[in-house]
């Protein structure tokens, strides 16, 4: 593959992410990985549901008493918006508009970082209340489920940043277009998982 080949919007294919065999392979492989991730998160959710509110006798923390909705609401809105901004980034990628794509990715990263900051704040808050990781089966299940999602956010952000830095100078080509596309796909998947986290953990937790 020729990295130095220059494209214009007129020569740029409709689906640059699957225009080469390498791209197509990555594309299919990544979707399969997402299927595996679905099962992974399902396992974590299932464990959380089985261990919800379970702890040593006399445990003071329950989901209904612990979680507060305003913060979660803010986090949800931020993450949903970042999903949209990454859609914009891919829109510009398909139009072969590199600068606009980088800009929208930048916004996505900023929103992601805000989300992450709020999550760290939230965890810190709980730990200060005395709801630590080793506290009970409930706390372990909660931190591992939400923390795994958080780790995915960290990985997604690192991926975006690495791609943006690496390709800042050379622009879009057939070699990196699939990578941008997949990173955005990953980001949407993270959002899908969050939809279930705020529904199952927080909303259903609060109503007891």
């Amino acid at each position: 593959m020729d990295l130095n080949k220059r494209y214009t919007p007129q020569t740029w294919p409709d689906h640059p992410e699957t225009a080469t065999l390498e791209g197509k392979n990555k594309f299919v492989g990544f979707w399969l990985l997402l299927a595996a991730e679905t099962v992974t998160f399902a396992s974590l959710f299932a464990t959380y549901l089985a261990l919800k509110d379970k702890g040593p006798s006399g445990m003071e923390f329950t989901a209904a008493g612990l979680f507060e909705l305003p913060l979660v609401f803010a986090m949800t809105m931020i993450l949903l918006t970042s999903s949209l901004t990454s859609v914009y980034a891919i829109y510009h990628m398909k139009n072969h508009n590199f600068k606009a794509m980088q800009a929208w990715l930048g916004i996505t990263v900023l929103l992601g970082l805000t989300f992450l900051g709020l999550e760290i704040y939230e965890f810190n808050h709980y730990v200060h209340l005395g709801f630590g990781f080793t506290n009970s089966a409930f706390s372990s299940a909660f931190y591992v489920l939400v923390g795994t999602h958080g780790a995915h956010v960290v990985f997604g952000l690192s991926w975006f940043i690495a791609l943006m830095l690496r390709n800042a100078k050379r622009g879009l080509n057939m070699y990196n277009a699939p990578k941008f596309y997949l990173a955005a796909l990953y980001w949407h998947f993270i959002d899908v998982v969050w939809v279930f986290i705020f529904t199952v953990v927080y909303l259903m937790g609060v109503i007891g």
Partner: protein, 638 residues
């Protein structure tokens, strides 16, 4: 062989294999390391049988026995059977669909090295304070109570090698989805490729629950979490569920490729198209699908309640239907054929009664109330050895003989192969048939000793004798391999003479670029079709001869896996509290892994081009060699 590795010599060869991304060389790596772990697991099996040779034996202590039985199971499933099957999948499946390589050559190499380092890590436990001792099922209450670091070696080792398996699974799936030659529709794929596909799908969806379960175990043991700690609200049944949600599909991950290998063998050595190909394909898919809905039959005695037990009992019974379909289709494949009893075919023929016996005891265990008696007794031990040894191991031995020429270019001795077969086969039935009755006579599994007053002495002694027969068979196989390698008599494209699928249309071993021109597939069993139509060249092609783009070798997968290996030691010893070096080791290990990931994504690796001229030269060399061989003597079987 490869034009980009001109250097020869021992060191250069080692370096070539460490950095290779060629699916055929990775297959050889899988075969060698899987074979090594097979021997390790075999030695452990012999220790078990020696200990149980007579009542009240004191050959092994109680604690050591539990370590040996745990490592026997874990090694055989994760480090021997799966990798050896991966060897055949890697080597053969891309050739069968006419692909130039796998979809992700780099990840293929990474998958192997993760498996390898995970396996080495797990086995190092023997030398570093004791192996895991809670059985390969590693049930949570016992695992949490186990002292020392054995269980931690198990958890971390299986995590690493589990990532390797997941990567391998995705790689096979994408290869089969995207890289089939023109004309190779899904319903023209050879059955071995089909079973590779379904088994890979099972890997993709079954390994995540195991990984999650093992992570919980790691968190509980090393970082103070409480998933399985009953006093803190935890629940050990969660482990059982996760283990078996993975564990049951895992059985099919092993047996389906075995079915695939036997399907190829039946067709080749009966000179007949597979009877009911479509039914075989759909039976394969159905088995894979049902595999996810029956896990709780491993937990009938856990106390899940009659409703759950009844539902899972019925679901389990249904699996017998597609399996039965397969057995009868194989029988009808050899019916009316021209059966040649080569070594692979003898294994395949022996497989049918052995596996049927294992299958019917499986149905018996599906009867939940009866399983209350059978569960955790020697009946179960007999049953799963009948399916795993009678199915998977026979397939591995058959596949070794069948594909040896394709992988190494030489034929294993048929005579020694038959000796191996008879020792192994007789030993196998001697060892395990009698164990059904031991179980019915009340012998629980995983006991390190038994009293003289239980009435189990004679049958246990017979079982041990059988194990020695099997060991002799394996030793003969090793002798066979060594002698064949020393003799080094090269063979042609289709050494068995009756090859039907694409892999037999190209040289043994194939050149590093596989097909010089991508073949055009005109039906099921494409090579057979061309042969029957008298096509001298073997194949017709879908494209003109042209430049070929190949991936570069890479050292990064090895380093990345090594980083995980190093980090695991850090994690393992970190919580001892008295080892200041542990945390730095953990960080350095992870640093190596993430650093090499970064290098990989930063450095563009665009591969290299084999030009048309180089290709023509290489093809001419291959032809010259073939002519020299034909001149020397009539190579191959025919």
């Amino acid at each position: 062989m490869s034009s980009n590795a001109q250097k020869t010599g021992f060191g250069a060869t080692i370096w070539d294999y460490i950095t290779t991304v060629d699916h055929k060389k990775i297959a050889i790596l899988y075969l060698i390391s899987g074979g090594f772990f097979f021997l390790v697991g075999g030695v452990e099996a012999m220790l078990i049988r020696i200990q149980l040779m007579k009542a009240g034996n004191d050959f092994l202590s109680a604690g050591t026995y539990n370590e040996v039985l745990t490592m026997h199971g874990t090694t055989m499933i994760f480090l021997a059977a799966m990798p050896i099957l991966f060897a055949f999948m890697n080597s053969i499946a891309p050739l069968q669909i006419g692909a130039r390589d796998v979809a992700f050559p780099f990840l293929n190499s990474l998958g192997f090295w993760l498996f390898f380092f995970g396996g080495v890590f797990l086995n190092l436990s023997w030398f570093l304070g004791g192996a895991p001792d809670a059985g390969w099922t590693n049930y949570a209450s016992l695992a949490l109570a186990s002292e020392g670091h054995g269980i931690d070696f198990y958890s971390l080792g299986l995590t690493i090698s589990g990532f390797g398996s997941l990567i391998a699974g995705i790689n096979f799936l994408v290869t089969i989805i995207n890289m089939r030659a023109p004309g190779m529709t899904y319903m023209r794929m050879p059955l071995f490729t089909w079973t590779t596909f379904v088994a890979s799908a099972l890997i993709l969806l079954a390994f995540p629950p195991l990984t999650v379960g093992i992570f919980f175990m790691i968190f509980d043991r090393l970082f103070g979490a409480n998933f399985f700690d009953v006093t803190m609200g935890g629940n050990t049944i969660i482990w059982e569920h996760f283990f078996w949600i993975f564990g049951h599909p895992e059985v099919y991950i092993l047996i389906l490729p075995a079915f695939g290998i036997f399907s190829e063998i039946f067709a080749i050595f009966s000179r007949k198209r597979l009877f009911g190909y479509t039914a075989l394909v759909f039976a394969t898919i159905l088995i894979g699908f049902y595999g996810f809905m029956v896990w709780a039959h491993h937990m009938f005695t856990t106390g899940l309640g009659p409703t759950a037990n009844a539902v899972f009992a019925l679901a389990t019974m249904i699996i017998a239907v597609p399996t039965g379909i397969k057995i009868f289709n194989w029988l009808l494949t050899i019916w009316g054929g021209s059966i040649s009893f080569t070594v692979p075919m003898i294994y395949a023929v022996a497989f049918i009664p052995s596996f049927t016996a294992g299958g019917v005891t499986g149905v018996m265990q599906a009867i939940a109330p009866l399983d209350y008696q059978l569960h955790d007794s020697y009946f179960i031990v007999a049953h799963f050895h009948y399916v795993i040894v009678g199915g998977v191991v026979l397939a591995i031995l058959a596949g070794t003989h069948l594909y040896w020429p394709k992988m190494f270019g030489t034929m294993l001795s048929e005579k020694l192969g038959k000796w191996t077969f008879w020792f192994f086969f007789i030993g196998f039935h001697l060892t395990f048939f009698i164990q059904h009755f031991l179980g019915l006579m009340g012998m629980p599994r995983r006991v390190y000793t038994f009293g003289a007053d239980q009435g189990w002495d004679l049958f246990n002694a017979i079982s041990t004798v059988g194990a020695f027969f099997m060991a002799v068979g394996v030793i003969i196989l090793l002798v066979n391999v060594v002698m064949t390698t020393i003799k080094n008599e090269r063979v042609g494209n289709d050494p068995w003479g009756d090859g039907r699928t694409l892999e037999w249309a190209i040289p043994s071993p194939p050149p590093f670029y596989n097909f010089a021109q991508t073949p055009l597939v005109r039906g099921l069993d494409p090579y057979w079709i061309e042969k029957m139509e008298g096509n001298k060249e073997g194949m017709i092609y879908a494209e003109p001869l042209g430049d070929i783009h190949m991936p570069n070798n890479s050292f990064i997968p090895f380093v990345m896996s090594l980083g995980m290996f190093v980090a695991s030691f850090g994690a393992l010893y970190h919580l001892d509290g008295d080892k200041a070096w542990a945390l730095p080791v953990l960080i350095i290990g992870l640093g190596i892994t993430f650093g090499s990931m970064l290098v990989r994504s930063w450095k563009d690796d665009l591969g290299f081009i084999v030009t048309k001229e180089e290709l023509i030269a290489d093809q001419e060399r291959i032809q010259r060699e073939a002519q020299a061989r034909e001149g020397g003597k009539n190579g191959g079987l025919k």
